[in-house]
């Protein structure tokens, strides 16, 4: 078996394009779920409006990529307001229901035949990010032995990790400020915070917008990295992956979503590569390559169950803090 290939692929993917996208989505979700306690089950929707905002602006309206980014951010803010205005005054579960539905609605609209001329139906839109690659300072691919990136991927990954660093730094500084203190208070008990004269609704809205915009950055990276937007990338499954990553890494921790996304994605890749290689080389005979895809999700599920049992606070979480909840 080609262990070298498996390891290279796994390590490269752990910090690669997909990990970057999941990371940004998870960093945003951490603001919602981790710090504020907002049950946003539509994070995929924020990435979708951003990605499509960018793609449509460039390829349908002939605008520059940077204007497209602006459009995408505005779309994410608008989505946050649209979701937040009716639900943030209500109990937490309403946001969950509305966000999960809204993300699906967005996906179904962009993949619909009716709007095909704008969004490209189920094929999506392709080739709109040349402007991004024109700025690529790297003139050759990266090959460190165990980590390999093409010239373009290297540029995407560099920008992606820079964004992750900047947003994480921003959240770190926000969460140490009185603003972050209000959010943490809201996560625990809204009424207590209200009784102290804070406008809980406004803070929840700010958190929803902030986390949504960070998610939108993930949407841009997804659109740019593959030079394509496709509706089914932004399915509910995506959001659940992001939740899994966040909880795996440790919610309400700065490095929680980053570590969680990298590890989860690497694991997924590793199991897939390993099983496929084993099947191809005849080491495993009772499986076919098509079954491997399902098996790897079963294994991931098993792993997550053990995580919940043995380390429910995630890798970076604080057990003591979790236990305080129970009182």
């Amino acid at each position: 078996m080609d262990f070298n290939g498996i390891i290279t692929q796994t390590l490269t993917q752990a910090i690669g394009v997909s990990a970057v996208i999941y990371c940004l989505a998870a960093v945003g979700l951490n603001v919602h779920f981790g710090y504020t306690g907002l049950l946003n089950f539509g994070q995929a929707g924020f990435l979708a409006v951003a990605a499509y905002g960018l793609a449509v602006s460039v390829s349908r309206m002939g605008l520059s990529l940077w204007v497209g980014v602006l459009v995408g951010i505005l779309a994410a803010i608008l989505l946050a307001l649209l979701l937040g205005v009716p639900t943030l005054r209500l109990r937490a579960d309403y946001l969950a229901i509305v966000t999960i539905a809204a993300a699906e609605i967005i996906r179904l609209i962009v993949r619909s035949v009716t709007f095909r001329e704008y969004f490209g139906g189920s094929d999506g839109i392709t080739r709109f990010a040349d402007e991004f690659y024109a700025l690529n300072p790297f003139s050759s691919p990266l090959d460190l032995g165990v980590i390999k990136f093409s010239q373009n991927d290297l540029w995407v990954v560099t920008v992606g990790w820079t964004l992750i660093a900047l947003t994480s730094l921003m959240i770190w500084s926000l969460m140490r400020s009185p603003w972050g203190r209000v959010l943490k208070g809201i996560r625990e008990d809204e009424d207590a915070v209200r009784s102290l004269g804070k406008n809980v609704y406004s803070y929840k809205m700010q958190a929803l917008v902030l986390g949504g915009v960070i998610g939108a950055l993930g949407g841009f990276m997804a659109a740019i990295a593959f030079q394509s937007v496709q509706p089914d990338t932004y399915s509910t499954e995506f959001t659940f992956f992001v939740y899994t990553m966040l909880i795996l890494g440790g919610a309400a921790r700065i490095f929680g979503p980053i570590l969680g996304a990298a590890i989860f994605w690497a694991l997924l890749v590793f199991v897939g590569e390993f099983l496929n290689e084993a099947v191809n080389k005849g080491v495993i005979t009772f499986l076919s390559n098509t079954q491997v895809g399902q098996i790897r999700f079963m294994l991931v599920g098993l792993g997550l169950m053990s995580l919940m049992i043995f380390r429910p606070q995630g890798i970076l979480g604080d057990r003591k803090e979790l236990a305080l909840d129970a009182r």
């Binding site: 500084s173 400020s177 603003w179 208070g185 996560r187 207590a192 209200r194 009784s195 102290l196």
Partner: protein, 307 residues
């Protein structure tokens, strides 16, 4: 002791101001900070609160007592905007509070605590306290991004929090998570945190519940201190000895209505109050003794039975 001199004057002032007030439900006060009229709150068939008229004297400690389920907590929720009545008007400092959301009520100077303590367990005691400060620049998103824009304000707030914590004997715990404290300590913290808002009026829902006797004494001292600082206190309490000890005025609720008012001693010997506590309201006894009460409550037991 010289320290006692102002203490007694504030108390005497409150007692003197209330001396002329009639001992009857809804009695007008010489200087009312809160006035409520016709407050009705129904839960399905149950009328939890039905207060025709009530006034709370400024600068005094008023106790709100009544048997379990009398509607005291519900009335607190209504006054502070945490719940909305089906009918009624009420005001703080002559400005209507109808429809005002709870956080704005707090900003106008009326801050409450909760019967079931709401200490924020995963935050440190000090952070709980600092959260109480109103109008912090650092609580605004853009300013929060730049520590230099709020660091000095934060330092001042921390100092004030520490002073207050010391008064409540919680200063040794300031770096602990609030969730690590005992129930009684959390009550103290919640009260201290409410004071960080610098309210004009504090509303305490059973501040002594679950607090040990030694701590109770210091809590009573703190509440008396509030009056000395010119604050108005309205509190709910079941322990009659404490009510007698600290309150200048007592309002009694039973089945959602105010059934008696007066200074502690006179209220506690009132037959209607004794009956309400002993559950005599299922007979005629309550309506027989109360003149004012007979008119607006023909059958207080009826709604409860239908619920």
């Amino acid at each position: 002791m010289p320290a006692d001199a102002p203490a007694t004057t504030r108390r005497d002032a409150a007692v003197a101001a209330l001396a002329e007030v009639a001992h009857e439900p809804g009695a007008p006060k010489p200087d009312a900070i809160v006035v409520a009229d016709g407050i009705v709150r129904r839960f399905g068939g149950l009328t939890a609160v039905d207060v025709a008229h009530i006034e709370i004297q400024r600068g005094a400690i008023t106790a709100l007592i009544g048997p379990n389920g009398a509607g005291k907590t519900t009335f607190f929720n209504l006054l502070t905007g945490f719940d909305q009545p089906n009918e009624g008007q009420w005001s703080l400092n002559a400005r209507s509070l109808k429809g005002v959301p709870p956080h704005k009520v707090a900003r106008r100077g009326m801050v409450r605590t909760f019967q079931l303590t709401k200490a924020l367990s995963k935050m440190t005691v000090l952070d709980n306290m600092r959260l109480g400060v109103s109008g912090q620049g650092g609580e605004k998103f853009w300013r929060a991004l730049f520590p230099f824009a709020w660091k000095s304000e934060e330092r001042r707030n921390t100092e004030r929090a520490q002073e207050l914590l010391a008064r409540f004997k919680l200063d040794a715990k300031q770096q602990d998570f609030a969730g690590e404290m005992s129930g009684g300590q959390r009550k103290l913290l919640e009260m201290a945190r409410a004071l960080m808002v610098e309210p004009e009026m504090v509303m305490l829902d059973e501040p002594m519940a679950g607090v040990n006797p030694a701590l109770t004494q210091s809590l009573l001292g703190h509440i008396k201190d509030l009056r000395e600082q010119g604050m108005t206190v309205l509190f709910v309490e079941h322990d009659m000895d404490m009510v007698r000890d600290i309150s200048d005025w007592v309002i009694v609720m039973a089945q959602g209505q105010v059934i008696a008012e007066g200074p502690p001693d006179s209220v506690m010997s009132d037959q209607r109050v004794i009956d309400a506590y002993l559950g005599a309201h299922h007979d005629q006894a309550l309506t027989d003794t109360g003149e004012a009460f007979t008119d607006d409550a023909p059958s207080p037991a009826a709604p409860e039975e239908s619920a």
